[in-house]
Amino acid sequence: MSDVQNLIIETATRLFEDYCTPEILRQAEQGVWPAELWTKVEETGLPLASIPEEAGGAGGNLSDAIAVLRVAGQFGVPLPLAETYLAWWLAAGAGLTLSTEPVAVVFTQAGTEPRFSQQDGGWTVSGTVARVGWARHAKQLLVLGQSENGLYLGLVQPENATLKQGQNLAGEPRDTISFANAEATQVVRAAHTIDWVWSRMAMLRAAQMVGALEAISQRTIRYASERIQFGRALNQFQAIQQQLAVMVAEVMAARISMEAAMTVAETSEATAAIAAAKIRVGEAAGQATAIAHQVHGAMGYTYEYPLHFLTKRLWAWRDEFGSESEWARWLGQQVATAGADALWPFLTA
């Protein structure tokens, strides 16, 4: 880990400790935009980590963005950080200029993308995209859609779109956006594919999930050392120790798979590695959240106690950009197509 990255992690941790309080998380679930938190985050430049300097970013690489997201995941930060990174990567790749205000990326998996068309020298876009992250708070919509000449990217002002509010299990905005011949500006050919965008978002969600897993694991270990029953701390009971050990192993597996995927994210093996990581992190989320709640007992089931801000995010995030099942079907098919004798070389690549 580089010194720069250690600095990023320290900065993010301090900032979220101070400004991402349980009260902020409660309000965010009610649909309140944490304006002060966003301003503070922006001031530190964290949303521009990994964005090339020539595109207005802070430089660095994917691992810097992952480092930020992991810390953000530990706190359940209710901001579109992953979505902002994606928007800036797409914009930088295509030579499009974004403002530093909150941005939502409007895209779907291949087949149902919005359509760009050119009229009278200008561009319009039409279509409907469900579950767009943070759209209601965005000041600019970055749309990925098909045109006659392939995949294009363009900007639409939020007032030119229709928005229907929706949210995920953790109360994070997942809105439906519709365009009917909406005016689009800066329309340019996209430098990435929809598959790249999809797997890249799976990678970023996995990073957030690893952060959340680390935090619920730490919180559960602490709770088990403090809570006394039958005259002993919970962690003195073998039944609880077994559970804690299984939980920690799951969190470690999640972390190592995510980091392994990160290291090959710019290579031809990226999608398979990201698939494996999203599967493994998602499986860990299922097991670790169950243990965390079980060890916390009824206390952890209350709205008052902050465990749920992270467990609900884990349940939401594991299904976003490909659940374990979806990625496993894809990966299993890839492995089968490559054949039995290619399995070992794949695992050790």
Binding site: M1, S2, N6, I221, R222, A224, S225, E226, N235, Q238, I240, Q241, Q242, L244, A245, V246, V248, A249, M252, A253, R255, I256, S257, A260, A273, A275, A276, A277, I279, R280, E283, E324, S325, W327, A328, R329, W330, L331, G332, Q333, V335, A336, T337, G339, A340, D341, L343, W344, F346, L347, T348
Partner: protein, 389 residues
Amino acid sequence: MKLFTRESQQAQLFDITLANTALALRDEVRAFLAQEILQGSFVPQCDAWVGTFSPEFSKKLGQRGWLGMTWPHKYGGQERSLLERFLVTEELLAAGAPVGAHWVADRQTGPLLLRYGTEEQRQRFLPAIARGECYFGIGMSEPNAGSDLASIQTSARRVEGGWQLQGRKIWTSWAHRVHYMLVLCRTSPLGDNRHAGMSQLIVELASSGVSTAPIFSIDNEHHFNEVFFDDVFVPDAMVLGEIGRGWQQVIGELAFERSGPERLLSTFPLLVELLRQLGPQPDERAAEAIGRLVARLWTLRRMSLTVANLLHHGVQPEVEAALVKDLGTRFEREVAEVARTLVAATPALDAPERFNVLLAQALLTAPSYTLRGGASEILRGIIARKLEA
């Protein structure tokens, strides 16, 4: 404690990028194994690192410099890195090659001899182990000391020029064929500190007073034995390390034993055969099941490699090793359980179909995976006690 990480956060601890020399070595091993299979020197099998014994194959590995790889040249080693050893080992395991004869000597006895042995002991044993000619058995468990290893009763009393060993050991794989056993025993009576007063003795199994009795496992195979020591004389020159420090030495031995790729690859030959059976276009259910197994194994291998790298840098990753073993051995068993749900086949050791045989091998050996080298529950206890709030 922070797992899979250290305070220093040195990047090199986690950089498992493999050098070109290591990759070339891997290619060499792959080519060798392909050739061996082609020639019919062995048939890939599940759990081969425990269930096979082929001095001939061990000697072939020794000739190629693939045993004692990390040891100094003067002891017959190649001065390769632990990561390179990891690569060679996992190739052998993935191929289901017959590595059982030299396994214990190469994996744990050798490193222990290097660390605690006298110059004379190193000279005597290490080159022979590296040639694939000298094999060791493990002498830890006893009938009344399984998971609770500190309760061993085998003892040695001081006599002129050495020690007189009395007691018995159990679960020693291939004791009827290996040459030596590293026996953990009490050399002073049990006191307040139950971990004190133990020592490790190198016992030549051909010595007078040593006898073995076979123990057949549920597959009706014989690799386990009970070994009896009836006033066996062990000369001072065969004491490993310090008298009274046996417990500390054995804990180090266990770290080598727990973290390796053999804790995730015991059923890999079955997984390969499963893919062959399913063919290039499995249905959705099969594709999903395969995808999940592959994702887990892909992750486990990286965890195991990370532990190897920590060992390589002189860190003792006791907790990480326990954690990898717990996850890895559960995975090994799961391969068998998943395989039988995806292919309609009757598992049988005498079946003509390779898949059915491998499935039978996996099912019949699976109960041992989560027991040997530390039962999962014990490992989880080790992990839990090291967790900090």
